[in-house]
């Protein structure tokens, strides 16, 4: 079934030049500076793809509304119990802080947002939020669901924000055990397939011995993620640098594909332990937030 050229020599030459020009253009697009690439992406998302994103958001909201009432009731009962128990703790904490001369604990403002995920190639670790700069969302704000840490905001626009979840190669979070004995840095490790991506806790002390199932929380170090957001649970030891440090695989608390609703922590927090610059207090009296 051999074919035949359908065009004249002149037509073929023009076709070849046009084709070469378009492929050259695609190479230019591939090597554009990040700022220009983001502008093109924003233009496409806000024009051609905007109705599709609206549909995606509407479906995510419908999925939330379809949650079983009994499950929601159970979750609300749990939260009510926690809040009731926390009231006395908060008062005790306030009194102790007052006695120790510590400043008031920092409160985090949060903004609820719908998580929109697309299934296009190259967007596997990316999510969109239907909240943007108008709502106070800023780059590097933490994003969490009721189960734990989802990821981080990267780009913010009016009414929309783009973030990456924990499976992104640039994701890092300082982690600790709830008792504060062990600290480390959590990052994503790539599986053979993207569905096999998981977390790893690196840099823990060599003598630390974490058992499977132990919970890991954000430590607040570095100031990006507020302290105390659940990251996941220790799964199994991964590797050890002889006499130096240990690593553990971590089962994530949140599976990004299942997230439809999230909270954005609006204010980037300062490091959890900060010293007031012009502290009139004596040495050693730090401002613990």
């Amino acid at each position: 079934m051999a074919g035949q050229p359908r065009e004249s020599g002149e037509g073929r030459k023009r076709d070849f030049l046009l084709t070469a020009g378009i492929i050259l253009g695609s190479l230019i697009v591939l090597n554009l500076p990040p700022g220009s690439q983001r502008s093109i992406q924003l233009f496409l998302r806000e024009t051609v793809l905007s109705p599709l994103l609206e549909i995606n958001g509407a479906i995510a909201r419908m999925r939330e509304r379809a949650l079983d009432f009994n499950v929601l009731r159970a979750q609300m009962d749990s939260v009510t119990g926690l809040v009731a128990a926390g009231r006395t703790l908060a008062e005790e904490n306030r009194q102790l802080r007052e006695a120790l001369g510590l400043s008031e604990r920092e409160r985090h403002q949060v903004r609820a947002a719908t998580v929109i995920r697309t299934g296009t190639p190259g967007a596997e670790s990316i999510f969109l939020l239907d909240a943007g700069s108008d709502d106070g969302v800023r780059p590097f704000n933490a994003v969490a669901t009721e189960a734990g840490l989802l990821g981080q905001v990267q780009e913010v626009f009016s009414g929309r924000a783009v973030g990456f979840d924990w499976s992104h190669r640039d994701f890092r979070a300082s982690a600790m055990t709830p008792d504060g004995r062990t600290y480390g840095l959590v990052e994503a490790v790539r599986g053979g397939f993207r569905e096999q991506d998981r977390l790893i806790l690196r840099g823990t002390a060599y003598l630390s011995d974490l058992s499977p199932g132990e919970e890991l929380l954000t430590s607040g170090r570095g100031g990006t993620f507020p302290r105390g957001i659940r990251i996941g649970w220790v799964a199994e030891p991964a590797e050890a640098s002889a006499g130096w440090s240990r690593s553990y695989y971590v089962d994530p608390a949140v599976y990004p594909g299942a997230a439809t609703h999230a909270l954005v922590y609006l204010d980037s927090v300062a490091d959890t332990v900060a010293v007031e610059p012009d502290s009139a207090a004596g040495p050693g009296q730090a401002d613990q937030r």
Binding site: I23, S26, G119, G122, E124
Partner: protein, 157 residues
């Protein structure tokens, strides 16, 4: 390009965007954009195929963070090469179309892998040799079904 092919390709692109962007189905849904590109390219010629690939690649890359432009390049090249096949092969028999769609989709995935950021791509053997051929078969099957349902007869007529 006749009206039948135009409508089929437009329908495939709209369906692809609905499945991947509006519903966020990811790999669960077949890659109908490549199927549309391959079918359109054989009717449009090299420049038309490359231009169609460029536009479809831009839409695909609108959400890509680490390798923006990889789909633009891959689909432009695939569109141009797919158009050249009409000079080598005539006819739209089902076996030919199946091989054409499988190779087109697989070729696009290989090109995307080659030009993607090395830090973000999965290992060559896992993606190009295992995952991508399966995705190519899936896309080809979907393309053939669409072709048989919506555009019976020769596409190049």
């Amino acid at each position: 390009m006749n009206l039948r092919v135009l409508l089929l390709c437009a329908g495939l692109v709209v369906t692809h965007l609905l499945l991947h962007v509006a519903l966020g189905l990811g790999k669960v849904a077949p890659d109908l954009a490549v199927v549309a590109l391959l079918l359109a390219s054989r009717a449009l010629g090299s420049a038309g195929g490359a231009a169609t690939g460029f536009v479809l690649g831009l839409l695909e890359d609108a959400f890509s963070v680490v390798s923006f432009g990889a789909n633009v390049f891959a689909m432009s090249v695939v569109g141009a090469l797919a158009a050249r096949t009409r000079e080598l092969f005539v006819g739209d028999s089902i076996p030919f179309l199946a091989v054409f769609l499988v190779l087109g989709k697989w070729g696009r995935d290989v090109l995307v892998w080659v030009v993607s950021d090395s830090g973000s791509r999965v290992p060559f053997s896992d993606f190009v040799l295992m995952e991508s051929p399966l995705l190519a078969l899936y896309a080809a099957a979907a393309g053939l079904v669409a072709r048989l349902i919506f555009a019976r007869g020769s596409l190049s007529r």
